[in-house]
């Protein structure tokens, strides 16, 4: 019953958000806020983050902190590029998964078998990933090698052979492109919904579909199968699991290797998106993925939310820097809504006792909110284009703000990061 309620709440939240964005769009005229292009790019930018986050989710649900996702992702990109240029996309996929999984295996050996501090092992893998790939490039892609003839350099692989298929929703997003037509009307709300839907359905690579499906699949496996129950038990109380005959070591190995594979898949995705391996193309997404996973309270749904937020902000920032200004208005509206709710709560008769008399703290908060709203509106009215440097950090600032505002009832798996040894109780 509670699940139904949170699910409903989430839907209402999304609807409210679209309404709000739509309002802001109409007020400001920045159509890119909800254009299919922005949404499509947001999706593409969110996917590698979500995949890295999934990697984190699997490992941490099994009780192993994985800060080495970045290194594993780097391995994924390199191997995908290396196999892809020789044998095509399927090979790239397999090799990338394997590369990431190898990183995961290393992490598993260190943390599970040797009980090494999880953070240290992750940091080491973050050193090793770029080191190994650079070394391999220096050996395999140096001048005079066949790869070099095919277009490789020390910092990039040759292009992946063959195409990865893409997908469109017939009628709606392609051909007659009904959604596209609706979107270009710029009608309040209608165009926004159309834009979002079209962005999510137009020219989508299969890998995006796979990646997006992995989220519900993860939810299903972890929360609705026996294997998932055992895996989570290893993250909550491995000693209890052990006492019931669960092979905790094996579970942890599987989880961490899969975790690496997911990070590797994120790497493959990047390689497919740009057609080749480019040194440094992961751009810290392993860390961002980890952050998105924590942001999402170690749950697939929350992770999706975290990566979507980040992807959307990055997309907007890259595509339409001036539109970022509208966030000021957006923030002001949110603050005003908050103020309105507070005032209604205070004036309503049947208020809960513990909120009966707002303390000075509450008045301060409300005062700050009012001030903030005024300040944001002032910013919005006076600034016509933020310096680029500030535009670049939109996603990061937004993430911090959401974290600050959202209630912090994060609950990590209880035995997360604990080094477990068979037969030794806590």
């Amino acid at each position: 019953m509670t699940r139904v309620r949170t699910y409903h709440l989430a839907l209402i939240g999304v609807a409210g958000l679209i309404l709000l964005v739509s309002l802001v769009r109409v007020l400001t005229g920045f159509d890119d806020l909800t254009s299919s292009g922005t949404v499509g790019a947001a999706l593409v930018l969110a996917v590698p983050i979500a995949l890295a986050g999934l990697g984190g989710l699997w490992a941490e649900r099994a009780g192993v902190v994985n800060i080495g996702l970045e290194g594993m992702m780097v391995l994924g990109t390199w191997f995908a590029g290396w196999a892809g240029y020789q044998w095509g996309p399927m090979a790239a996929l397999a090799a990338g998964l394997l590369g990431g999984a190898l990183g995961g295996l290393l992490h598993a050996i260190a943390t599970v078998s040797f009980g090494v501090d999880h953070i240290i092992s992750g940091v080491a893998i973050n050193l090793l990933g770029p080191g190994i790939t650079r070394f391999l490039s220096e050996v395999l892609y140096k001048e005079g090698t066949p790869a070099s003839e095919a277009g490789a350099g020390i910092t990039s692989s040759p292009a992946v052979r063959g195409e990865t298929p893409t997908f469109d929703l017939p009628l709606l997003s392609s051909g007659p492109d009904l959604l596209g037509k609706l979107e270009s009307t710029h009608w309040f709300l209608v165009a926004d919904v159309a834009g979002v839907l079209r962005g999510l359905t137009h020219g989508i690579s299969v890998l995006v579909i796979v990646a997006v499906l992995l989220l519900p699949l993860t939810f299903f496996v972890l929360w609705h199968t026996a294997f998932g129950l055992r895996l989570r038990s290893a993250g909550e109380n491995p000693w209890a699991a052990e006492s019931l005959g669960v092979n905790v070591y094996r579970i942890k190995y599987v989880a961490v290797v899969l975790s690496g594979a997911f990070a590797g898949l994120g790497g493959v995705f990047l390689v497919f998106f740009t057609d080749k391996y480019v040194e440094g193309q992961t751009q810290g997404r392993g860390f961002i993925g980890l952050a998105a996973m924590i942001f999402g309270n170690w749950r697939p749904g929350g992770l999706a939310g975290g990566s979507a937020l980040f992807g959307y902000a990055s997309s907007l920032q890259l595509r339409s820097a001036p539109a970022v200004n509208t966030f000021f208005l957006f923030g002001a509206v949110l603050l005003l809504v908050y103020l309105g709710l507070q005032i209604r709560r205070l004036t309503s008769a049947d208020r809960p006792v513990e909120l009966a008399a707002p303390g000075p703290r509450q008045y301060t908060l409300m005062g700050l909110a009012a001030l903030g709203a005024v300040f944001l509106i002032w910013l919005w009215l006076t600034i016509d284009q933020l310096p680029n440097d500030f535009i670049f950090i939109t996603p990061h600032v937004l993430t911090l703000l959401v974290l600050l505002v959202a209630s912090q009832r994060l609950r990590m798996p209880k035995a997360d990061g604990v080094s477990y040894r068979r037969g030794e109780q806590h």
Partner: protein, 380 residues
């Protein structure tokens, strides 16, 4: 104390084995790459074949160790309390640009000038670290996320500062953006004379061996004393080992989070100074980045203890120095990174193993002294 000595010996032995193993692994890689591991090994110890080259190499080696050591200290202060300050990276960047700028705005006698620069750097670093600390304490925001985000924000912020308010004059045709140069009194005197003590040719360059080395050593000693001898250090240790127990014993966890984070950030603020005060005399857009992340590895390798961190920093610097020498020997310089990663991993594995052995020895000792290991004779 024999138990402690025993453990120390074991640790050292473990670390040595780990380093050897790491080298072995890299040797395999080098052979696969078609190189000779012996050449590579020689390259690590090849400090050049002229007196001048040697002293240059030694200076390079030590100069690299200085910021790594400070970065390791900064990270360790947080880690001792289980605070994952991933944000050292951003903290030192912001601190460096602010300190370089403030230092360039006035001229005072060297000790005052340098002292103020150091203070500004520490203050800015500490303030920047205060943000995630306050977020954690008031809103429970996980410091891993917030510091990761703040790193990116620091990069953009410093780019902005460097371009707009803190920009300095530039020579025609120079594309580096920099803050205004520090006055002569802002440059930290170098330690080139030290080379003569060892019968070496001092480096000819100004600031060959950075004087900031002395500050780093002093900082290491101070941090050691603070962590190991003071009440503050004790509360940090207690909070890190068992936070509920610390809470029950009257330690205020919120205050400790803020204090440890700010201290960590203040130390982080100094990471960029050796380079600025010893070499560049300004913050530029190609200021060395990434030391904060390397600091994590160094701190963990040094087991979050100042002496260990010093060794780890020296080891990393020693390996880094060989990047050029390796290329002279036609060996890919990336083996350095591989060795560093492998050493971090293997040393902790070795630590883990030796720790267990040491623990077992200690338990046995305890049990023996209590005579618990002899089952009683009983008449049933």
């Amino acid at each position: 104390m024999p138990a402690g000595l025993n453990r120390a010996l074991l640790t050292v032995a473990g670390a040595a084995v780990a380093v050897v193993l790491a080298i072995a692994i890299c040797s395999v890689a080098i052979v696969v790459a078609g190189g000779s591991p012996f050449d590579a090994l020689a390259a690590f110890f090849d400090f050049g074949n002229s007196a001048r080259a040697e002293s240059n190499s030694v200076a390079t080696f030590l100069n690299r160790a200085v910021p790594l050591f400070i970065a390791g200290l900064a990270v360790a202060v947080g880690f001792r309390m289980n605070l994952f300050n991933i944000g050292v990276e951003g903290q030192y960047r912001i601190a460096a640009i602010c300190a370089a700028f403030v230092g360039s705005t006035f001229t005072a006698p060297a000790p005052i000038q340098i002292g103020i620069i150091i203070l500004v750097a520490a203050a800015v670093g500490g303030l920047y670290a205060l943000i995630p600390a306050v977020m954690k304490v008031t809103r429970g925001v996980n410091e891993v996320i917030s510091t990761i985000m703040l790193n990116y924000i620091a990069i953009a912020l410093s780019a902005y500062l460097l371009r707009e308010p803190f920009a300095g004059e530039r020579a025609e045709g120079q594309l580096n953006t920099t803050t205004p140069p520090l006055p002569e009194s802002g440059m930290f005197p170098d330690l080139n004379f030290v080379f003569e003590w060892f019968g070496m040719l001092p480096p000819t360059r100004n600031g060959g061996l950075w004087g900031f080395l002395l500050v780093a050593v002093a900082l290491g000693v101070v941090i050691w004393v603070v962590l190991e001898r003071t009440r503050f250090g004790f509360t940090i240790k207690a909070s890190g080992l068992n936070s509920p127990a610390a809470l029950a014993s009257g330690v205020n966890p919120k205050k400790m989070i803020i204090a440890a984070m700010v201290l960590s950030g203040a130390i982080a603020g100094l990471i960029g100074l050796p380079e600025i005060l010893g070499d560049r005399g300004a913050y530029t857009n190609n200021f060395t980045a990434g030391l904060g992340f390397l600091g994590i590895a160094v701190a963990l390798l040094g087991r979050n203890k100042p002496v260990g961190i010093a060794f780890a920093a020296l080891l990393f610097a020693f390996l880094d120095r060989a990047q050029g020498a390796l290329q002279f020997a036609d060996i890919p310089a990336s083996v350095v990174t591989i060795i560093q990663g492998a050493i971090v991993l293997l040393v902790v594995v070795a630590n883990e193993v030796t720790n267990r052995v040491a623990l077992r020895i200690e338990e046995r000792r305890a049990a023996q002294q209590l005579g618990r290991n002899t089952p009683v004779e009983v008449a049933a």
